[in-house]
Symmetry: C2
Subunit: 243 residues, 2 copies
């Protein structure tokens, strides 16, 4: 029934997700793990793996002794912070038409903080990429990305900077991407930001992400700052008791 790659568990997860959307389970109750395992012809562990992922996303609630149930609340969760997803997808998940506008791509001298965060010398330069993301033709995210020029290994064009950085890095820098260390910072929009994001007069505060990206050798390879219209792009997440 299933092939390998992506993993069986991932396929089972996808299958169940679809079934949850399509099917009306009795009282939102999902068949037991044993039954699912037999139906899908995989081991119970694999089913459990898939269900665990769905539970992490809040799509499903498990109760020992009772069963596994669909969580109808969590259609409200549009973004899962722990996962990196392209901003276009985030905008799509909010039901809007995404757009990307590449504002600029240029080599610059990093400021002191940025140089320190990326372990750069005084003479090292960075490639700075400015983008503006729109949702239904309204600007919602403004981001600046800094990549040390010394790690860029392949020739690139402006257009190559449009996709997410973590695709640029493997492609043009021969760098793996492992994870972001992200700070969530609130701020009062500066006049410059107000103009770029077309903020209405009443909208004063913005949310920003300040992120340092690391490769699999745990070396910092990219810095990114993103400013969000939190009123248009809700940042919502699920929090659980001590896992």
């Amino acid at each position: 029934m299933f092939k390998r790659s992506p993993s069986l568990a991932e396929q089972v997860k996808f299958h169940l997700k679809q079934r949850i959307l399509d099917t009306d389970f009795d009282k939102d109750r999902i068949p037991s793990e044993t039954v699912l395992a037999q139906e899908l012809n995989v081991s119970r562990n694999t089913v459990r793996d898939a269900l665990s992922r769905l539970e992490m996303e809040g799509i499903v609630i498990r109760k020992q002794g009772a069963g596994t149930f669909v969580n109808r609340n969590v259609r409200l969760v549009k973004t899962r912070l722990e996962e990196i997803i392209p901003y276009e997808e985030m905008i799509l998940a909010h039901g809007c038409k995404p757009a990307v506008d590449l504002l600029s791509v240029k080599k610059t001298q990093p400021d002191e903080q940025c140089a320190a965060q990326l372990n750069l010398n005084a003479t090292d330069e960075v490639l700075s990429i400015e983008k503006l993301f729109g949702a239904d033709d309204q600007p919602v995210i403004y981001s600046i990305t800094f990549i040390p020029t010394k790690i860029i290994a392949e020739p690139y064009t402006k257009e190559d900077a449009i996709p997410p950085v973590y695709q640029f890095l493997p492609q043009f820098c021969r760098q793996s991407f492992a994870y972001y260390l992200s700070d969530i910072v609130p701020l009062v929009a500066t006049p410059g930001l107000r103009q770029i994001l077309h903020l209405p007069p009443r909208k004063l505060a913005l949310l920003s992400f300040e992120e340092i990206g690391f490769n699999r050798d745990n070396e910092p390879i990219v810095k990114a700052i993103s400013y969000f219209r939190d009123d248009l792009l809700r940042l919502r997440l699920i929090r659980r008791d001590t896992g």
Copy 2:
């Protein structure tokens, strides 16, 4: 070597965490899963379970074919948003002395939004609990919690409101607590908030959490709003590629 409860995997995780702090592994490399399984006399799956949790916390990095390594960067992560932890612990993790000040406990009429979020009728009241958390005697978090009075089943005193709500609920409301659905919202501090949190003149923006808590039957049972001094209590997290 280990007892059961908490789970073996949890104990192994704890054991490894200690060992990471105490031991200097060669080039930060942790023994292989097979070796650990033999040493600790548990199955490799259990070791993997423990390592997966450490990896989620960013404490460890795994590389297929190469090994598992300590991540020395992630001492910087003070808060894991996906997990609910008492604010006192969060403050402790920042290296500060935590304090709780119970500002008020009183029955009130919920506003329209709150009533809708908690599925309340027009006549239902809520117990509102105001707290102020300090770090090294400096106020850093101000929180208000709303619990529908109709679910309160046991007599309580003011002091019972000091611990986290998700302890109050099982104890006095016979309610299980399953998860929070949390919105992250930036805002410009109002004069009232400025006074409560003793904000310095330059500090304009605050971070707030607007959370609805659900029980295991997926019914909303509590609303909480928290305002953070993000400059004193850094909100930092690890983001990975699509799990």
